[in-house]
Structures are given as C-alpha cells and as structure tokens.
Symmetry: D2
Subunit: 295 residues, 4 copies
Amino acid sequence: MSTTPPNSDRRYVITFGCPDRTGIVARIASFLAEVGGWIVEAAYHTDLDTGWFFTRQVVRADSIPFDVEELRARFAGVARSLGSESDWQVADTGEPRRVVILVSREGHCLYDLLGRVASGELDVDLRAVIGNHESLGDITRAHGIPFHHVPFPAGDPAGKVAAFARLRALVDEHDPHAVVLARFMQILPPELCAAWAGRAINIHHSFLPSFVGARPYHQAHARGVKLVGATCHYVTAELDAGPIIEQDVIRVDHGDTVADMVRKGRDIEKVTLARGLRWHLENRVLVHGNRTVVF
Amino acid sequence: MSTTPPNSDRRYVITFGCPDRTGIVARIASFLAEVGGWIVEAAYHTDLDTGWFFTRQVVRADSIPFDVEELRARFAGVARSLGSESDWQVADTGEPRRVVILVSREGHCLYDLLGRVASGELDVDLRAVIGNHESLGDITRAHGIPFHHVPFPAGDPAGKVAAFARLRALVDEHDPHAVVLARFMQILPPELCAAWAGRAINIHHSFLPSFVGARPYHQAHARGVKLVGATCHYVTAELDAGPIIEQDVIRVDHGDTVADMVRKGRDIEKVTLARGLRWHLENRVLVHGNRTVVF
Amino acid sequence: MSTTPPNSDRRYVITFGCPDRTGIVARIASFLAEVGGWIVEAAYHTDLDTGWFFTRQVVRADSIPFDVEELRARFAGVARSLGSESDWQVADTGEPRRVVILVSREGHCLYDLLGRVASGELDVDLRAVIGNHESLGDITRAHGIPFHHVPFPAGDPAGKVAAFARLRALVDEHDPHAVVLARFMQILPPELCAAWAGRAINIHHSFLPSFVGARPYHQAHARGVKLVGATCHYVTAELDAGPIIEQDVIRVDHGDTVADMVRKGRDIEKVTLARGLRWHLENRVLVHGNRTVVF
Amino acid sequence: MSTTPPNSDRRYVITFGCPDRTGIVARIASFLAEVGGWIVEAAYHTDLDTGWFFTRQVVRADSIPFDVEELRARFAGVARSLGSESDWQVADTGEPRRVVILVSREGHCLYDLLGRVASGELDVDLRAVIGNHESLGDITRAHGIPFHHVPFPAGDPAGKVAAFARLRALVDEHDPHAVVLARFMQILPPELCAAWAGRAINIHHSFLPSFVGARPYHQAHARGVKLVGATCHYVTAELDAGPIIEQDVIRVDHGDTVADMVRKGRDIEKVTLARGLRWHLENRVLVHGNRTVVF
C-alpha cells in the first residue's frame, strides 16, 4: 500500500520543543544549513503561558548527505544543547505509517478512511481493522485488509478484561503509529490509554467539552443547540477529555430530529477524524499538557 | 426612527401553537382565505417528542378588510376551536418594536446594533441604552438615544438590589418588545427573569452549553478547543441555560492567546446577537419548553 | 436494498406550483383535511420576481383512506382548479427510488455514496454504476452493485457518439429517479441533457459560477482564492450552468498547492453531492427557471 | 489614538522574500541571534510554482540593542547577501499606522471600523474619512475623526477628474499605510491604483471571481447561488481582479430576496474587511504576483 517515495519527495520531519529563549531558531537552522539541509516547510510557536517553544521543520531527504539515523544522532546533540533531552523526533516520510483501526457497528468513519486509503490520498500501511461486532468485516476484507472480530460481552467484567487483552495484543503486534477509534464504542481501560498515549486517536460525536459520554446527539437535541459538532482528540484516561486535535460543526434546526442530527453529524465526524489522523501521521500535532499545537 | 410602513408593506404576523392533529392547517388557512387574507410567508413544524404543532403565517395587512384588533378577536375563535386559548399572537408590523439595550463596558455589540438601527436595517424604536458603566454613554447619545447610567456597587448586596430596582423601572416604562443584554455583565435576579420572560435576550460568549458563566474564553483556551462560539438565548433564572435562539462559531488555533480569542469571538457575538434579535422582533422565534422553533 | 417502510412511516409527498393568489393554502389544506390527511411537514414559498407559488406537503400514508393513484387523481382536480395542469407531483415514499451513478476515475464521491447506501442512510435502489474507466469496478461489485464499463475513446467523435448511446441505454433501462454524475468527466450531449432533464445531478468542483469547465482547482489556485467550493446542480445543455441545488466551501491558504486544494475539495464535493441527491430524492427540490426552491 | 506601546510590547516585524535556496533561515536567524533578537513569531513559505521564499519574523524591540534604523541598515546587508535588494521591510509597531477610509452611502463597514478603533481593538491612527456623499459625516465626526465630502458628479468626466485629484490630495497628505475603500462606489483611475499600490484595500461584495463589477447580489440572486460572499483585496487597475487578502461566505436560500442577500452579506463584508485590514497593518500580507501569502 505504502511505498518509499521517489527520493525527491522524501522528507525528514523534525519536531522539537524546549523552554523558549533567544537563539533557538538560529541554532537549529544553522545545524541544518551546515549539513546542506533544504527546508521546505517550517513552523514555530511559543506558548506564552508556559514559555515553551515548539518547532516543526521539513527537510528534503535528498539534501542531507547521510541517512536518517545519522541525522537523528546529530540532532540529538543540537537538542541537548538547547536543553531538550527527549522532546523531539525526526520522522522519515520514507517509512510507511502503520495504522490500526478500531470499530463497532457504525461504519461511516471506516468507509471514509478505507476510501482515502484505496485512492492513495491517505498514504498509510493499514495493518488491520478490529471490531467488537462483525458487521464491518466484509467491507474491510473487500479492501484486502485483515479484520478481527473481538466481542466485548456486556455485563461480563472478566470477559471484557480478556477482550481488551486480546485487542491489545492484536494492535501491539503492528507497533502502529496510530490506533484510530473510528466510532469504537468501548471505553479503553487506563492501561491501554497509557500504552497508546499520543497514538490513540478518537472521534467524539460532539463539540467537546459539551456532551461528554454517551448519546451526545440526544443531549444536544434536549438542549436545543443550533449546531452539532465532532471532536478528534487523543485518548487519555479521563473520558473525552484528552488533547483536542481538530473540531468542526454543522448547522441543525428545530426541524431536525435526533436521527437527523446523527445523520448530519456523521459527515462532520468522518472528515474531522480524517483531518486529525492525517495531521497526526504527518507529525503536525505536538501535545503540550492538555492542548495541542497543530503545525 | 420607526414609521408605519406603506400599506402594501404592512403585515400581520400570526404565530400559533396547539396539540397536533389533522385539519389545523386547513382551519387556519380557510379562516384566512374567507376574509381574503393574502399569505406571503407560512411555516409549520410539529415537535415529534411532544406532539406540539407550531405555525407562523404572514399576511398582507391590505388584504384584510378590517383592523388588527378585529383580526385578533376573530382569530381567538379559531385558536379556541383548535384547543389553544393563549398560545398564539397576532403582531402588526405597523406597530414599532420598542427595544431597550443593557450594556457594561464592552461596546462591540452596542456599536453593531446602533449601526444597524442608524442605517434602517434594524427597524426598531430604540428607547434607551442602560449601562452599569458610563463608558458607552457618548456613542449612545451621539446616535440621539437616551443613555442611563445605573452603577452596580460591587460587594454591596443592598446597593445591587436598589440598582436592579432602578434598572427595572427604567426598562419597564417603555414596555419593550425586547430587553437586549448586549454583553451586560450583571446576572439578572429571578424576579427580573420572570418579569421579562420571553423578552430578555442575552448574548453569551461561548458555544453553550460549553463554558457557562464567567470568563468563557479563558475556559476555552484552557481546554484547547479549536473553535470558539457565541450563543444568543432567552434569559431564564438558571444562568446561561435558557432557550437558545442562535449560535455561531469561529476557528481559532494554537497561536491564539485568550486576547485573540476574545477579539475573534466579538465578531461572532455581535452578528449572532443581531440575528437572534431580528428573529425575535419578527416573531420568528417560538419557545417550547427549553427549546426554540425559529421560523 | 430498499423496502416498503412500515405503514406508519410511509408518506405521500405533494409538490405543487402555480401563480400566486389568495386561497391556495386553504384549498390544498382543506382538500387534505377532508380526506383525513395528517400533514407531517409543510413548506411554502412565493417567488416575488415571478409571482409563482410553491408548496411541498408531506402526509402520512396511513391517514389517507385510499391509495396513491386515487390521491393523484383527486389532487389533479385541486391542481386544475388552482390553474396548474402539470406543475405538481405526488410521490410515494413506499416506492423505492431508483438511482444510477456515472463515474470516471476519481472515486471519493462513489465511495461516499456506496457507504451511505450500505449503512441504510441513503435509502435507494442503486441499480448500477457506469464508468468510462474500469478502475472503480471492484469496489462497486464488492457492494453487490452491477458495474458497467463504457469506454469513451478520446479523439474519436463517432466512438463517443456510440458510447453515449450505450450509456443512455444502460441508464434508461432502469428509468431512474436520479442519474448521478459523481465526478463523471464526460460532457453530456444535449439530447441526454434533455432526456434526463430534472434527473441528472452533477457535482462540479468549484463554487459556481466561478471556474466553470476544466481544472477548476487550477483556476482557483491561479486566482489566489481563500476558499474553494463545490456545487451540486442539475445538468443542462449549457456547461456547469444548470440550476444549483447545493453549494459548500472549505478554507485554503497560501500553503496549499493545487494538489492540496484537490484533496481538501474532495471532502466538500462528496458531502455536497450527497446532500443534493438526498434532497432531490425526497422531492425537496423544485426547479423554477434556472433557480431552485429547496424545501 | 495610537500610542507607543510599553517597551516590552513593542515589536520589529521583518518581512522578506528571495529566490529559495538552502541556508536562508539560518542566515536570518543567525543574524538575529547575534544581536540578541528574541523572536516571538516566525513564519515561512516557499511558493513551489515560482521558487520564491517568504518569511515574516517578529522580534521583541527591547531585545535589540540598537534602534530600528540601525536594524534596517544591518538587515539590508543580510538581504543583499541573499539576493534581495528591495523585497523586504522592517516595520516598527511603535510607529502608529496611519489610515484613511473612503466611503459612499453604505455605512456598515465604516461603523464597524469606527467601533473597532474606538474600543482600541484596531490600534490605528485614523486620519480622515472621505465620502462622495455627506451622509456618513455625522457619525465620523461623532468619533472625533475629520470627514471630507468630495462629490463625484455623475456624467461629468472633467468633474470626476477634479474630484479624484482632490481625493488624492486629501489622502496623500497623510501618507497612509492603508487607504481603505469601505464600500466606496467609485472606480479608482489607473494613476491612483498605481500611486496607492499595495496600500489600497477594497471590500467587494461577492465571492470573487464570481460577480465582478456592479450589483453583485443581483447577479448572485439571478444565478441562484446558495452562498453569498465577500472579498477583501488590494486594488489594481483591473476592476475587482487584484490580489485577494481574505474571503468569507454566508448561506442564503430561496426565501432570500436580493434585499435579504444584501443584508446578510453586510455581516460578511464588514468582518472580512476588518480582518484583511488588520493583517495588512500587521505586515502579515506579502503580495506575490496576483496572489498573497498571509502569515
């Protein structure tokens, strides 16, 4: 599905954070200039509340006279000199991005992602789809993607623990860059939230922080809101409270029943999830506390 | 400011609600047809949860061979025959719509409304602006509108009670169709909420129900949302929980400070309030429980 | 795929147009009331430029004591009495809505529609997908829908004429309620526009009337617009000039290449087409000259 | 109106363009680092079509140990070394931004800008408002701003030439950073377009390139579009064809008359103009051919 791009399209993506001070941009830019790095995209941000500096730099791989491991080794020195031991990453767009998708019965987000993968728009190595129902198995397999059915027995705590263990094993064997909860209706236990921290991406069908938890469209209808929304966010142990990557809304009116809201909301959910996932996989999303910088 | 329109532009606006059943449209339409009423706008809605029927009909005044009082008297019979003693109204666009605006220090909503009134876009009889600060007095008076300064002494409960009494007197002498809280930063006491029920319109600077109460942009910034919003709603005794008339949102990103959010949000607040107020004054908003039908 | 709904969900949808005058609503509503018709949705509009009146009424089928043919026969008399011989329709939601989709290579609209059909969101009888390329055959067949490949030979006028004849035959055998040009990149000849008038629905990848014709995203990029759009419209003989059903836009900026615009635009194209198609199939769209009324 | 900000808020804003190559970011960032410059905002862009590089850097004034003239002198050397003699600027936020506004009769954009100036949101030195009608004189003077009435006699070419000469004199005496055409309904002659190139900002009441020229809402209504828009752009000799700074749209439907479109459109026009003007005055807009980079 995903292949190494021609050399001229291959990029190294550097993301980096450290306490703000003068000279950071110069230090990084000079390092890149010295090795001949051709910057094709660069973004900076300083969080004024915390005095934290963020940057994302995209460099043409063919402008660097050594491989990505060497780049990482050298950049580690730059980062250390700026006071950052570990808050940085050098990604290589030549490495396929491995993705696993979790679903329940609602298929609109899965369909949407499968279509984007099939057309090449979303250039990922989609390793597996895992469902707690079987209903989305056929469409997944029609795309040549493995589908695993992991039932979550209602009212059976031990069965659920076992199901989560199996889910985890099925996911972790792929060491995915992203675990996408594409309307997966089970709440991840804290240990999975921890294991997949910064990689598990959920789409919640409301404009968070409104309407946390179950049946948000019912809540929205009861409150009489005039717009409904969707929120793509990283999963954390607190339900629907993780760092927000992207949100969008769509207009509703008094003529819309809950079912109409559900239908209209789907169109927002799927594009919001797809945008958030793309940005995550392009290393555009830097998490800082409970907020995100999206470059 | 507001004058009786030429006869051909004058309209009678009938709003009506009753338990749904067959024949309602026929009953009302036949009544209008029999007296020669020329309907220029008509809207219907049935709330499926409660089985309540709503309609709004706009009739050319010059098509009705008698005056509005006679129309009201006759329509009362129609309403009664459909099981509705009091859930109806016949408004006359020839009667100026009296409005009083309450403000604090933030002027963007007031400026916006004054501009709409001055240009004739908002065809109202703006009777007074009342501020708990003096700062918006000059611009109000420059428009030829009386401004009253009613200070609300902080930390002085008795003083506040007196201030609200004075506020109420200043408002009630105009018997306004709308009391507009245009970023008025005092919380109305329950008795004022009751006295102005269905007429007091507030603009809250968040996408309710998110970020109720004070400093919603600070709350929004802390949560890291990607859109901020504004909500125009009727005031009820529960803070920021009244029936929503209109909402809108605007995109923000990680580069936006709280001050930026405040600035961007203002553009949404003022247009959302202006839309909501216009719809209210055109009798387009029918309240049903805690929700609105906006025809 | 599509089944007759339970009786209580079945609806008769009356659409009607005539020169405006008093008494139309009363005439139609009284007719419905006399036969016991339970109106669940009603909308009215008068075009002030042309003095034309439009209405759409939705009636519970189980409230009418006879069948839809009898309703049509009786309503014909009502229509005639209001001066309308043919500008009306009585649709029965119990009759499946037959749809044929035309595609080329770009699959995002087709994927989107297939997903909506599979989930039951779009309740249609999808009879066939016809492509001038083979590339979307597999996904179509995976959904159990017949796919026909009709090549359009470039630079071969006679071959094109034959291809359009074959296309027409493949479509017309289903007598579809809608022929959907889901990014079908061939320009329909006038005789097909005429044959499918009011049924052929196109999605154009620009905010019409900007950027008519080929490569609209390239045109948009060259002009430096800050939003790109999509337009769902009825096909007429003049290219991209038919009555507009729905439009939407998405923000772009200087960082977006033409390829980025193409990608972002797809998300707008597919939802705009899906909304327009739904409204068409629900008989919500009334064409009047080159404009539409969308109830 | 505008005062020098406290030292810690004062910024130097560097904008710069040159042919893309490696080492540009390093060169500029190193220059700034060497003089102790504290970068608070930085943005980069490379136009792939033309191979042109753009950057905007915002530096704390109090981090630079010399004045802005010295900074300009030194930066000139940096620019020259990167192949750019003149495609750069160093702005000082401590220098008030002089603005002149041109109006006709429609006041919504002027009202909006006056309100933003009065509240301090738009921190400019508004030197004058010039109208070809007298009608907006009172509101202008109520804000303490000089108003000049320059009539443009219809059907009198010589009179128009004289009026434009007077207009030019009234504008040029202020050497403004921005000449804002806030619904000024006269078409600037080519020599004024040239004289004010890159400083004359217009708001056009359509989503350009649709509906160039007169009465765009009438054109929009006739075409039956479902959204109307507004475009803020630099004025060039070709009518409504200059580089676009910002655009926005608002939804309309079949129920909206031309007058309704005009009214709804105003809300978009005024906020779109205000955004575009703010970005221009903050040196966020870099013009490149007929397109803009908006940092």
